[in-house]
């Protein structure tokens, strides 16, 4: 038997024995950003397709969550920075090769757009809303006139935001678990699914709830497909990626991932929604909350497990 012993004199805080540079802030932000992206994409898509009146909640009410989620996410990102006073450097540099730079600029576009979208629908929440200042009224009129282009911007930047949360991680070749291009589409789908779940909770219209249960079912199906292909890809790849996959197939993340993300976050809500679309009566909140919980756990586990996966030499 061949044996190998490895001793390193390095013990840098947060780097050894395993990388531990990102804690709760990054996965929380990836989840909130992804969910906000999902909410905004769905709202924009239904508005562009002229289905505003069929899916009122999704287009006019749920988007009110998006700016809140984005702002909490931005605060989490700011807390994560270790050299906080220099955060503005993000906005005096454009680095096309850096996913984080893309993300910073995308947030710079989508956050104001989300606020504007909410402002245009403020009377759905507060029927007697008055802007008080003339220039605010003029601004509202201006954006009302260009609502369709605004929806397009929201859709496109929503997709970029949703995909980028995955690409941020997949661009790291040093962490074999993250280094798969499936992560972008997987996080986008998971964000859309959480966004659809938000409407499922808020909507009081039976038809709309049915439609969003259907959407969620399809999205969960896509997510399961992507997860299976992610692991198939890992198992057919190099030793470091096989090792990364093994953390989830018998290793230390197996129970957390398959129980919290796949069973509780995908399979059980899918069964509940399927029953709801049939004749059973199931409180819509239940599957929706599980989907949102699963979406959060997915980010949390992938960010933590990815930092444990590495090249050995």
């Amino acid at each position: 038997m061949k044996e190998e012993l490895f001793v390193s004199g390095r013990w840098n805080h947060l780097v050894d024995p395993n990388l531990n540079i990102w804690h709760w802030q990054i996965p929380l932000y990836l989840f909130l950003g992804g969910m906000a992206a999902g909410i905004l994409c769905i709202a924009a898509l239904y508005y562009i397709r002229g289905r505003e009146n069929d899916y009122r909640t999704a287009v006019r009410i749920t988007p009110f969550l998006a700016p809140v989620l984005l702002v909490i996410g931005l605060i989490a990102l700011f807390i994560d920075l270790r050299h906080k006073l220099y955060f503005w450097q993000l906005y005096v540099n454009i680095r096309l090769q850096s996913p984080m730079s893309w993300g910073a600029w995308t947030l710079m576009v989508i956050t104001p757009v989300a606020f504007i979208w909410c402002a245009l629908h403020i009377r759905d929440l507060f029927p007697n809303w008055d802007w008080k200042y003339r220039w605010l009224k003029v601004t509202e009129e201006f954006f009302n006139r260009f609502k369709k282009p605004l929806a397009w911007v929201m859709l496109i930047y929503g997709i970029i935001l949703g995909i980028y949360t995955g690409i941020l991680l997949s661009a790291f070749n040093a962490r074999p678990l993250w280094n798969t291009s499936i992560l972008g589409p997987l996080f986008l789908t998971s964000g859309l699914s959480a966004g659809a779940a938000a409407t499922l909770i808020l909507s009081k219209n039976k038809e709309e709830r049915k439609q969003f249960a259907r959407i969620d079912l399809v999205l969960i199906g896509i997510e399961l497909f992507l997860i299976i292909h992610m692991f198939m890809g890992f198992m057919a790849s190099t030793q470091v990626q096989i090792d990364a996959a093994k953390m989830f197939l018998g290793g230390s993340f197996t129970v957390n991932f398959w129980i919290f993300v796949v069973i509780l976050g995908m399979i059980i809500p899918a069964i509940l929604e399927f029953m709801e679309l049939g004749k059973f009566h199931i409180p819509a909140v239940l599957p929706a909350v599980l989907v949102i919980f699963g979406s959060f756990m997915l980010r949390f586990i992938i960010v933590h497990a990815g930092q444990m996966s590495r090249w050995l030499y």
């Binding site: 190998e4 490895f6 390095r10 947060l14 450097q89 540099n93 090249w311």
Partner: protein, 177 residues
């Protein structure tokens, strides 16, 4: 110009003088290090083989840390040295996560820190601190574009390897064996 370093694993005795010299020269905060010594033992008793390596940032040609930096704080300096501009670094940690060698660490002051090949000493015509103190002279440093530099000469003469070439980073820290 292309700065590179070669480490003779046959001459290194693992004394860690390079580590202490770096910490002193660069005011590395206590508990951290920019270079470190790795010891590997391989084989089955009695056929054992030991290798000692003084490791540090590989100053890669295709550096993932420079690529992923959102502000351009991580950059290539003269001679391909990978440096961090402290007043541009936001401390996001992306470069730390991107390094397959885990050569970077978060400095307690907030910015990210790493080996600089002692760029400040090179400017004054001196060698990096680790190279100049090595008691067995197992570290070679110089310009790869200059065929008469000590590192070029030793790489021509000796068998050598780099760490994780399959990561595609094109590292510039060579190990003689």
């Amino acid at each position: 110009m292309r700065y590179a370093m070669a480490v003779d694993t046959k001459k290194c005795v693992g004394c860690s003088d390079c580590v202490v010299a770096c910490q002193t020269e660069n005011n590395v905060p206590i508990g951290y290090c920019r270079d470190w010594v790795v010891e590997t033992t391989d084989g089955t008793y009695p056929q054992l083989e030991m290798e000692l390596r003084s490791e540090r940032c590989n100053h890669c040609v295709n550096a993932p840390c420079v690529r992923c930096c959102p502000t351009g704080a991580s950059h290539f300096d003269e001679g391909g040295i990978v440096l961090v501009k402290q007043n541009k670094c936001i401390g996001c940690g992306a470069c730390i996560a991107s390094c397959p060698y885990d050569a970077r660490y978060p400095h307690p002051k907030g910015y990210v820190d790493k080996c600089t090949f002692c760029a400040h000493r090179l400017k004054e015509g001196m060698l990096p601190a680790c190279v100049s103190v090595c008691p067995t002279r197992c570290l070679y440093f110089g310009d790869l574009d200059d065929p008469s530099s000590s590192v070029s000469l030793v790489l021509k003469k000796r068998k050598h390897k780099v760490l994780i070439p399959e990561a595609g980073t094109n590292p510039q820290l060579y190990f003689l064996f």
